[in-house]
């Protein structure tokens, strides 16, 4: 094993060697630089391998032939090896990305680059306080110089100013650091970190006080290098103006090294200093993310994000007292995620010609780079399967176990903010107008592309490693290797195949998975399994209508299905949450594919992540520190914890079912999705939320929260959701939006049913689960087919399509009859159970509310069919054809299902009914012949079908017979208002259809909830926008910030310290 010392000597030797070369031998110099960086990486990698594979203890490296503390010593252990490898690799890859610049500037720039990388490694390796200072100064100077790399290309003096600002601040920092070091030395008589850590606790009286003060100065100085809020304006200016390849180093490597230095310091200071680290860290995390919201410059945005992430890790380090041995795993996971993602994003930014976030739309033609971007932002947001996810999971659990709830909340809030701007950015990439100048010459920027792809590979490799580590730690299977997930990821590799192949594969996969697992499900899960898997493959039939390759569709869709498949099999909180995140992310990508779905997909992911965070918090609270727990154990929770857990989980699940107040993402997301995606996200995905609620209610049941029966609250929410959802639906002009609002209402019914907590209520909810899947999928496909043919979703622009699209009409007709529950179709069964169920409600008011929702549903459904298919045909649609075969086919299958279920509802219902007896033994249905009897009434579907059928057919036949010679009237063969209409536009009144209702009740449909959430986001944005103005750009102001920061932390921190 080559001594880690040679990371330093190699870099220095090479840097000095470069000076011997002639100025013109730049190629050679560049080669030496790369070789040296590769050598340094190799040394670190060797050590990392040794430590990881053999688990040997850290190795001390003495210098000067003298033992510490009398001479400087270095140490390399697992963490050091990993960090130096990270630093050196980032240095190497950035050097590749910097090829042009370095070659243009010559050997001096390369030497500085080498020294910078070396100094960062030095910070990590050294165990001497003053040596740490030297390496820090080296970093500062090298960084200030390297900022100028961008001057070569831009030459506008901005980087120069940024570098100067950095030097100003660093002067203050080094003054504090030096004074701190000398007094700490004076107090303890040593400069060795470990020695000082041993000596410090032994100090007493005045010496201890003096030492505390000195340590404060050291600590604050090193923390200041982490760019804490608010003393970080200089860093932002650097991020914005520097060459992105340098920013990659500055963000990934410098941040990592400085964090490690703080970690060493905390070793000296002991636990008393942890709260200060946490405080600074979390404030920085939240504030930087908040300030990032209004950013429009990509590199500055990434700068804010870097600062935020560093803050988060600092906060994690500050929690070492409770994280204990997990600190390395957690902080490491976060740090590596941050470093790789941020480096990758900065390298990527080197490919983008302009600095606006929208300019990244240039990436759109490059699936691989898009995938890299997605991986990076997912990594930053802590989504599975990346290391940050595991880290966040453990962190939140440990925090919750210790009751550090405020910190937990702030972390999740900050993470949500961060996800907000990152995913908004992704939306820009996918949806905004690409600038004229596309990714400028990818071949030319080989280095940056290579570096980005290397980061991508590292990201996934690390996911695998962290999954394995998690496996070792909790004795479980690596989730990245879960079959559904692998199947979904495989589509990334198969994306070059044509649609029909991939579609067949996807369908086969879903069915095969169902076949493999169907024995495992109890009837309740079976319902969901059938909807998710069989139902999923049914909706996928519609995808055959697409041609070409449809890049990106299948990985996203299969990711969602993988999540769904894993969700119903999950038995413990970890698996459940992983599945939950996967389906959320997958569906987000699916929704984002819609043409105008950018803002809606964003609000979807934000609400979903917010909900997911609540679920995470709920799980964490429930486990009380254990890494995960069996979902069934939720039942064992007791007061006062239980209601809180219930509340968090319920709200989390309800964001997915779009309960009122949390519903605003749904209409846009479902309406703007592609034709075959809408049924997936509406008919199938919404059920995931219900599934969560079912699991929750099955285990936790009734909870009392400060005197409020939470189930009753849910009853109210369900009822209000149903009412408002339906009410909003009747005023929609957009057919798919109408259906989307209708889904909100339907989910309200289902929630209401669940909240009843009795046999009939659950039966009703499960009926809604099934029926809603069938008819909402069908209606979305039907309407989607119409929209595809007519090119619009505005219903008032359509009309009279019945003759042109008869099959779609039939599907819609059957669908609305089923939804409105008009007998004799299957919807009536649901309604019948529904009315029976609500009779059991103890709370009458919500019952009335949900009751009122019924007729309203009828109104919007009528509107849907009337405005699209009846009325007057429009000129421009005279030649419209029936929807494509593959879109019609599933609709017809659904029609068949509805008819069958209408006659024999027992097919499914009976089993569910029987199964529910396990949970609610009383109040079940009685099945007697074809009659179904409840405690209130009875119902005979077969008889109804026959009676209605006979009357109906008799009358119809007679009417047809007597009018057998009647001719169909041509559209304009009419007279009204004493005129003959000649244009269909003059004859259509479908716009603002239920005008009387709007006049009477319009106030109820004011978008108050939307107003609330948009005010919230506006407030956050405005706050961020105002606050960031205090980064005036004046280097002196930044110095003020720094000093103020030091003083404030001093006043706060030292006051708190014992």
């Amino acid at each position: 094993m080559v001594s880690a010392l040679h990371i330093i000597t190699a870099a220095l030797a090479a840097a000095f060697l470069l000076g011997l070369l002639k100025e013109q031998q730049r190629g050679l110099a560049y080669g030496i630089t790369l070789l040296t960086l590769a050598l340094m990486s190799w040394i670190s990698a060797g050590w990392l391998w040794t430590f990881a594979s053999t688990g040997t203890a850290a190795v001390e490296i003495f210098t000067a032939g003298t033992e510490p503390p009398f001479a400087i010593n270095l140490r390399i252990g697992l963490a050091e090896a990993a960090l130096t490898l990270l630093i050196n690799l980032v240095g190497l890859l950035s050097a590749l990305a910097l090829k042009d610049t370095l070659l243009a500037l010559g050997r001096r720039a390369m030497a500085v680059w080498l020294v910078a990388v070396m100094a960062l490694s030095g910070i990590v390796l050294t165990r001497d306080l003053f040596n740490l200072f030297v390496f820090f100064e080296l970093t500062v100077i090298a960084s200030a110089g390297l900022v100028l790399l961008s001057e070569h290309a831009k030459n506008d003096g901005q980087a120069l100013a940024a570098g100067f600002k950095y030097l100003i601040v660093s002067q203050f920092i080094s003054a504090f650091l030096l004074i701190g070091i000398i007094f700490a030395y004076h107090a303890t008589g040593t400069l060795n970190i470990d020695d000082m850590a041993a000596a410090a606790p032994l100090l007493g009286g005045g010496a201890a006080q003096a030492f505390a003060l000195a340590f404060f100065l050291i600590f604050i100085a090193v923390v200041a290098e982490l760019k804490p809020f608010p003393a970080n304006g200089w860093a932002l200016d650097i991020y914005e103006s520097a060459h992105p390849a340098f920013s990659a180093l500055f963000s990934a490597a410098t941040g990592a090294a400085a964090l490690f230095a703080v970690d060493k310091l905390l070793l000296i200071g002991g636990d008393a200093w942890l709260p200060m680290a946490t405080g600074i860290g979390i404030v920085t995390f939240v504030a930087a993310n908040l300030l990032a919201l209004p950013q429009t410059n990509d590199r500055r945005l990434l700068g804010y994000s870097s600062i935020a992430q560093t803050g988060l890790i600092l906060a994690v380090l500050g929690q070492r007292d409770i994280l204990g041995e997990h600190t390395l795993y957690i902080a490491g996971g976060l740090l590596l995620s941050h470093a790789i993602a941020k480096a990758g994003l900065y390298w990527l930014s080197g490919l983008i010609a302009e600095r606006g976030l929208e300019a990244w739309a240039a990436l759109r033609g490059q699936p691989l780079l898009i995938f890299a971007f997605v991986s990076f932002i997912s990594m930053l947001s802590g989504l599975p399967p990346f290391p940050g996810f595991y880290a966040k999971w453990e962190l939140i659990h440990l925090l919750a176990g210790e009751g550090r709830i405020v910190l937990l909340g702030l972390i999740l809030f900050g993470a949500l903010l961060e996800a907000g701007y990152l995913f908004r950015w992704f939306g820009y990439i996918m949806k905004r107008e690409a600038p004229t100048e596309v990714v400028d010459n990818v071949a030319h920027k080989f280095g940056a592309v290579f570096a980005t792809l290397a980061a991508l590979a590292a990201a996934w490799a690390l996911s695998l490693v962290w999954g394995e580590l998690a496996g070792l730690q909790f004795d479980r299977f690596n989730m990245l290797l879960a079959l559904p997930l692998l199947f979904a990821l495989a589509f990334l590799l198969l994306d070059w195949l044509p649609v029909w192949v991939k579609n067949s594969l996807a369908i086969a996969g879903l069915l095969a998975w169902f076949y493999l697992t169907y024995t495992e499900y109890d009837p309740l899960r079976m319902i969901f399994a059938v909807i998710f898997l069989i139902g999923g493959s049914l909706t996928l039939l519609a995808s055959y209508h697409e041609h070409g390759r449809r890049i990106g569709f299948y990985p996203s869709a299969m990711l969602m299905f993988a999540g769904l498949a894993m969700l119903i099999r999950a038995t413990d909180s970890f698996d459940f949450f992983v599945a939950w995140e996967l389906l959320t992310v997958g569906s987000y990508f699916l929704i984002l594919r819609g043409k105008h779905s950018e803002p809606h997909a964003l609000s979807y992911i934000l609400f979903s992540l917010g909900g997911a965070f609540l679920i995470l918090a709920g799980f964490a609270l429930a486990t009380q520190g254990a890494p995960y727990f069996d979902l069934a154990a939720l039942a064992d929770l007791v007061q006062p914890l239980a209601p809180w857990v219930f509340l968090l989980l319920a709200i989390g699940f309800m964001t997915k079912t779009a309960a009122i107040g949390l519903h605003i993402w749904l209409p846009g997301a479902h309406a703007e999705a592609e034709t075959d995606v809408s049924p997936m996200v509406s008919g199938i995905l919404l059920k995931a939320g219900l599934y969560g609620l079912i699991v929750l209610l099955l285990t936790m049941g009734r909870q009392d929260f400060y005197g409020v029966e939470l189930i009753n609250a849910m009853l109210w929410i369900g009822a209000l959701t149903a009412l408002i959802g339906n009410l909003l639906a009747i005023f929609q002009e957009d057919a798919k939006r109408l259906l989307a609002y209708s889904s909100i209402g339907q989910m309200g019914y289902a929630m209401f049913g669940l909240a009843l907590m009795n046999h009939l209520g659950w039966l009703m909810a499960l009926m809604f689960v099934i029926n809603h899947y069938v008819y909402k999928s069908m209606l979305f496909l039907s309407v989607g087919g119409v929209a595809k043919r007519t090119g619009t979703r505005q219903m008032y622009r359509m009309g009279g399509l019945i003759t042109l699209m008869p099959l779609s009409f039939i599907a819609t007709l059957i669908g609305i009859i089923a939804v409105s529950g008009v007998p004799p179709l299957s919807g009536f069964g649901g309604r019948w159970i529904f009315y029976n169920a609500i009779l059991t409600a103890e709370a009458r008011l919500p019952m009335i509310l949900i009751f009122l929702a019924g007729p309203i549903a009828f109104l919007y459904l009528f509107r849907l069919i009337y405005t699209i298919f009846l009325g007057q045909l429009k000129d421009e649609f005279r030649r419209v054809k029936e929807a494509p075969f593959w879109i019609v086919l599933p609709q017809m299958i659904y029609v068949a299902i509805l008819l069958v279920v209408a006659v024999v509802p027992g097919l499914v219902l009976r089993h569910v009914d029987a199964y529910l007896n396990h949970f609610f033994p009383n109040g079940g249905l009685i099945w007697e012949g074809t009659t179904i009897t409840s405690q209130f009434g009875y119902w005979n579907p077969v008889a109804i079908m026959i009676i209605v059928g006979v009357i109906f057919m008799t009358l119809f036949a007679w009417l047809l017979f007597v009018n057998r010679r009647a001719q169909k009237v041509k559209q304009f063969n009419i007279v009204f208002s004493a005129e003959r209409p000649f244009r269909p536009e003059t004859t259509h009144f479908a716009w603002n259809f239920f005008a009387p209702y709007r006049k009477a009740l319009g106030f109820l449909t004011l978008p108050l909830v939307t107003l609330f959430w948009s005010t919230m986001t506006d407030l956050l944005h405005t706050a961020g926008d105002l606050a960031r103005r205090f980064y005036t750009g004046n280097g002196q102001t930044y110095a003020f910030h720094l000093l103020a920061f030091v003083v404030i932390v001093y006043l706060f921190g030292m006051g708190v310290r014992p």
Partner: protein
């Protein structure tokens, strides 16, 4: 003047912090254990009469290497910064230079007499670093001051950048090389006992310390000179750009 008031306030707050440091400061009455080790063992282990030098070059040699590197990259960056906007290729500037009024006879002659003396003093200071106060940095600075004198006397004077660079790099390389040799042949990186430590107080004692300190002296001198040269050259070109 709110800004000044705040500045004053902040300064005072920092001052209060310092004041408590000052108040809490109790001078040691005897050496702490680190210092004691140095006082007791330096002569025996290192063989340098100047304990400070022993610490700088050997015990804390890594710091010193870093220090040298700081100067090295400072010089490099100063060169880079000032080179930007100029012809990138830093080859000897053949463009006809602006001539100024010749410096006075007295000045140029005086500088010519003094410079060798200054250089000599510098060399003396760094060669004797392990024995007397002074050392590589001080000596290097003195050497550079000789250069400064030359520059002041004749602002248009050109130094050979190439020579400076080679000197700087070579001494740096040797420094690192000796350090690594210490790992291979002696007790560790920068161990001075590569060479026999000799007798305390003699010129050729303390192992490689004199060698290293000389290298440092050369290197520091070269680096300062290079910075000075860069700065002074820029001045001309900037001026000429403006006129």
């Amino acid at each position: 003047m709110i800004k000044r008031a705040i500045a004053l306030l902040l300064t005072l707050a920092v001052g209060a912090l310092f004041a408590s440091l000052l108040v809490g400061y109790v001078p040691d009455s005897e050496l702490n254990h680190t210092a004691r080790y140095y006082a007791e063992r330096t002569a025996e282990d290192i063989g340098a009469a100047n304990i400070v030098t022993a610490i700088i070059v050997t015990y804390r040699g890594l710091d010193t290497l870093g220090e040298v590197t700081v100067l090295f990259i400072s010089a490099a960056i100063v060169g880079l910064v000032l080179a930007q906007g100029r012809v990138l290729n830093n080859a000897p500037n053949n463009a006809p230079r602006q001539t100024r009024a010749p410096v006075s006879e007295l000045l140029s002659t005086g500088s010519r007499v003094l410079t060798p003396l200054i250089l000599l003093l510098g060399v003396y200071v760094f060669v004797n670093g392990h024995l007397t106060p002074g050392g590589g940095f001080q000596g290097g600075a003195i050497v550079a001051s000789g250069m400064l004198l030359l520059l002041l006397a004749d602002p248009l004077k050109q130094f050979s950048h190439r020579l400076i660079a080679v000197l700087e790099s070579l001494s740096g390389l040797l420094f690192v090389g000796i350090g690594v040799l210490g790992v291979l042949l002696a007790g560790g990186f920068l161990d001075n006992r590569l060479l026999p430590i000799g007798t305390l107080g003699e010129l050729f004692s303390a192992g490689v310390i004199p060698v290293i300190y000389s290298l440092i002296g050369l290197k520091v001198g070269a680096e300062f000179s290079s910075m000075l040269a860069s700065l002074s050259e820029t001045n001309h070109t900037e001026n000429s750009e403006e006129t």
